[in-house]
Each structure stands twice: as C-alpha cells, then as structure tokens.
Amino acid sequence: MKLLLKGGRLVDPASRTDTTADVLVDDGRVAEVGPGLDAGGAEVVNCDGLVVCPGLVDLHVHLREPGREDAETIETGSRAAALGGYTAVCPMPNTDPVADNAGVVEMVAARGREVGLVDVFPVGAVTLGQRGSELAELGAMARSAAAVDCFSDDGRPIREARLLRFALEYARAFDAVIADHAEDASLTDGAQMHEGEVSAMLGLAGWPAAAEEMVVARDLLLAELTGGRLHLCHVSTGGAVELVRAAHFRGRPPPLHPDRRGRQLLRPGVQGQPAPAGEGRHRGGPPRAGRRHP
C-alpha cells in the first residue's frame, strides 16, 4: 500500500531539512522524498499547512500499568501519545510492582506491542524498588525481551554518589543510559514553589534552584569519572543549563531533556508578579522558576 503525503512542510533536524516537499510511503517505509512527486496509485493525503516530521519520542511518561490502571493504562497512554504526534514513549518504572526486574519490563513492552499504537520502550529502575540502596538487575532487564537501554529511579534522585557511580559504570556493559532526577531532597523538604521573592511573600516553603543545580554538578562529574552515559531529567533552571554547557566544553556532553511543561505552567505568581495567595492549581516538581535567574 502506498501513501503520498503532499505539500507539507518537511522538518527533520537530523538531516537539517526544513522545506516544502512530498513524501511517498511504500508499505510503511519512506520510499521517496521531493517536490511534486507523482501519486501513481498511492492514496494522497493533502498536507498543505501541516508539518511532516519523524515521529516524536517522549522520554519521560507514566503509563501507570501495572498497579494504577485507574489513572492510566498502556492503552490510554499510547492513544494519547499517538494523538499528539508521538510514535514512541518511554514509561518510567514507578509502577506497582516497580519495573526493577525483567518480568515487569517484559510485561510492559509486550502490552505496548499488543496495543500497537506507538513503540513502548520501558525504562527500568536503577535500584531495587527505587529505594536507592542496591542496584537492580540491570543486565537481566537489558538482555530481556524488552531490551531496556535506559534506567532511572524516576522521581527519586540517586542520593548516594557511590551508588550512582557504580550504576553509570555497570551500565556501560550494555551501553545503557542512567537517567537521574536532579534534586537534593534536604533542600526541598516541604517545598511548595520556586524559592524567591514570591514564595517569601506568600509564606510558602521555597525550592531553591541550587537543589537541582548541585545534583546536576555532581552527576556531571560522576559521568566524567566513569565514562558512563548520563541523562538529566526535566532540567528546569538556567544554572543547570550552564553546568551542562560547561561539561560540553570539557568534552562530555550529557543529553538532557528540558522540562517540557514549559511556558504553559508559567503563572503570574511565578513570574515575579504575585498571584493571589492560595492559587495552587498549577504545580509541578521541579517548580517553575522565575523568568530571570535566580
């Protein structure tokens, strides 16, 4: 079966493409790209005014299955991803039971294939039960049918530097990535919003940017020490970006994903203009920082 995507704006950062062109898909594969392609017998989709691009990958999702199917399932999450233009998602391991063994990651991957809407690449836990005390069987998960190549304790930062060091080193055997949540919990205990002028006036416990940045700095140093592959989850402060940039100049750029919630959650209250107190409807961790840093 052939499909002709006609007249769309073709965007592909990998090949530095941003142009208007047609794409001919033959039996699920891109067969030809160029302006004014002949439809032949293909079904034509008019893409005028639309963007045609490689499928997007969401590195950090929560499909909640197994354990919290009342909130989300692999099927509902896959549907949402497909609707948003994503062709692959990486569900975090904070399920119940935790995805810290081959059985759970294989179940998640298999269920993803069964739903069949997007690729589901489960992220395995770095430590048993995400408890931060002993390494999970990264090898068993990597070599399982799920072929896990990214490990993370999700929202729980790996507190002990020694353990993160071993994880980064050990994961090299499988060329896998360790994704860390950069937060020093002793600085964020009870925190309700970004620490600054507004949190102080509202009497809300603050979350200082340093809580993220000091862990980013530590993680970068350990990545350099071990030669392991580090990923930083939802980086949210300017200072963290500067640290990553400095590491880049030292020769080991770690990948990171910026906090995707981005500007839609920037409420007046966190931009420097006080919002009415009690406006607590749009919150997340890490909290939104002010426009200027700090």
Partner: protein, 308 residues
C-alpha cells in the same frame, strides 16, 4: 475595604485609619459596666480554627459577643475535620447553616483565599500558615497609635523569626503603607529569600539597630526552629537577638516594646522587659485586639456608617 479581610496588602492607608478610628470608638464599649451593644444582633460569626490559638479565638469571640452577634466555635480537634472532612466540605456545611462571617485560622498559607472562593460569607484571616495575620497587624498599629502621634517616619524594628512569621509579613505591609520605616532584625537563616524587596531595612545586629527605634516588636521564636538547625542554640539566640534589661536601657527613652504572644520568657524577651510598666505595651496589645476585631466585624458585616 474589600468584602473580606485576607491580607494586610489589601488595606489602603484610608482603610487602616478607618479601622483604627472605629476601634477607638468601640473601645468605649469595653469601658462600660455592660460591655455590649446590639449592633450585630441576629448575625452569626463562626470561629473556624484548624490550629490551636486560645488567645486569638477568645479575642474574636469576645469581639463578636460584645457586638451581640451569635458565635460558633469550630475547632479542628474532635470535629468532623479530625474524621477527614476537607476544608471545602466544612466550608459548604457552614455556608448551608447560614453563617455571616467566618474567622479562619489555618496551618496552610493561602487557606483563607480558597475559603473565600467557596462561601458567600465574609472571611477574616486570623492567621494562615507562615503567610499573614492581618488583624494582629491592625491591633499592633492601634497600640502604636496610642503612644505616638502618627506613623509617618516612625522607626519600627521587627526582631526574630521573620521567615516563619505571619505577624511580621502583615506588619511590614501595614506599617509601610502607613509610612513607617521598618527594620527587620534576625539571623540570616531566619530571613526570607529576597527580603530586600520588602521595602524594609535589614540588619543582623540588634545592638546597632536598637537605639534608633521608636518601637521594638519582638517575634516569638519557636523552639523547633533550633532543632531544625536555623540557629545553634537557644542560649546563643537569646544572647544575639533576645531583648534583655541591658538592651532595654540602650533604647530611646520614649521607645516601646511589643510582642504578639505567647512569649518565651528568657529567650526572645527577658521577664523584666516583658513586665516593664513604662516600656512594655504587651498587655495593651491584648486588650486592643478586642476593640480592633470589633471594628473589623462591624465594618465587614456592613454595619451602618455611624458608630453607635
């Protein structure tokens, strides 16, 4: 004035003057043999206290009763809240019972704002988390006005745990609105982030600040702050930031000492200072609290413009 009293920031200089003037009129009721006027007869005021606070609750209760309002005291302990009822359900229940005003004390900063969204009744913030305590600020201003001709250029030091103090936030807002010059004095660990934007001077040195002040307002320091590591020991805190007899002597002759209570005698304030007849106005603050809260309930519950 707004419908509710949530923040001292919502009060203009005119609003504050009006509250203080009204309180001065109503204070005369307290001097009578029969301490009661019929102004709020038939109105119902609910004291909704999620935190223990005997003095503030009693002050509001007396204020409402002296205006002849019916008073309900709802405390979280032993109530439906201890059975897991949410603030919203409590609010809806009170609303259904037809209360006219809700005086709320809550441990969460911002709780009175949420309450005001849910109910038709007038909401008075009697202290929310580490955020604000506007009626305390108003009674403090009333007490200051009894001793000084006005606020313009008046020098007020607020000393102690500013970081966790709702009293400090509301007082800074109200005092600066009235033109006073406020200095916050505390160890750096007990000052909020970006405190330099508050429109008040900041100092870590109580002895350098004291001689220049007209008013010295001491804040309660909670013992658990020491355990949390904000300062090394109560003894060191008292030595650096406590108001003792020696420091009292360093103050100007006309200067007064205030404290919102309850006091930790021997920590932020020495007994001889708290009990000083010439300098301490702490007992006046308690008495004035009733008059100021009468004035607020009277103004917010739509009493006639003319004071009885």
């Amino acid at each position: 004035m707004d419908k509710h009293l949530l923040s001292a920031a919502d009060l203009t200089a005119n609003d504050i003057t009006r509250v203080l003037d009204t309180a001065a009129h109503l204070a005369k009721v307290t001097d009578r043999a029969i301490k009661k006027v019929p102004t709020l007869r038939g109105r119902t005021v609910c004291n909704l206290f999620f935190e223990d606070s005997t003095r503030t609750r009693i002050s509001f209760e007396l204020a409402a009763k002296r205006l002849s309002a019916d008073v309900i005291n709802f405390s979280a302990k032993g109530s439906s809240v201890s059975k897991g009822e949410s603030l919203k359900d409590t609010a809806i229940t009170l609303e259904a019972m037809g209360v006219d005003a809700i005086v709320i004390r809550h441990g969460a900063s911002g709780a009175p704002w949420r309450l005001a969204e849910w109910v038709e009744a007038v909401v008075v913030n009697a202290g929310d988390g580490t955020h604000e305590h506007p009626t305390q600020a108003l009674l403090d201003l009333y007490t200051i006005r009894q001793r000084f001709p006005g606020f313009d250029g008046l020098k007020v030091a607020i000393v102690g745990d500013v970081l966790h103090s709702r009293v400090a936030r509301s007082n800074v807002l109200a005092l600066t609105t009235m033109g006073a010059e406020v200095t916050l004095v505390a160890p750096p660990t007990l000052l909020p982030a970006r405190v330099e934007t508050w429109g008040a001077a900041v100092s870590y040195d109580l002895d350098a600040v004291l001689p220049k002040q007209d008013v010295v307002m001491m804040l309660r320091v909670q013992l658990e702050r020491q355990r949390a590591g904000f300062f090394p020991s109560l003894r060191e805190y008292a030595r650096l930031y406590g108001l003792d007899g020696r420091r009292l002597d360093a103050m100007a002759d006309h200067a007064i000492v205030m404290h919102p209570g309850p006091m930790n005698r021997g920590v932020e304030i020495a007994a001889e200072v708290a009990d000083s007849l010439e300098r301490s106005v702490i007992a006046d603050q308690v008495a004035n609290g009733i008059s100021v809260r009468m004035a607020l309930l009277y103004l917010l519950l739509g009493g006639p413009e003319v004071v009885p």
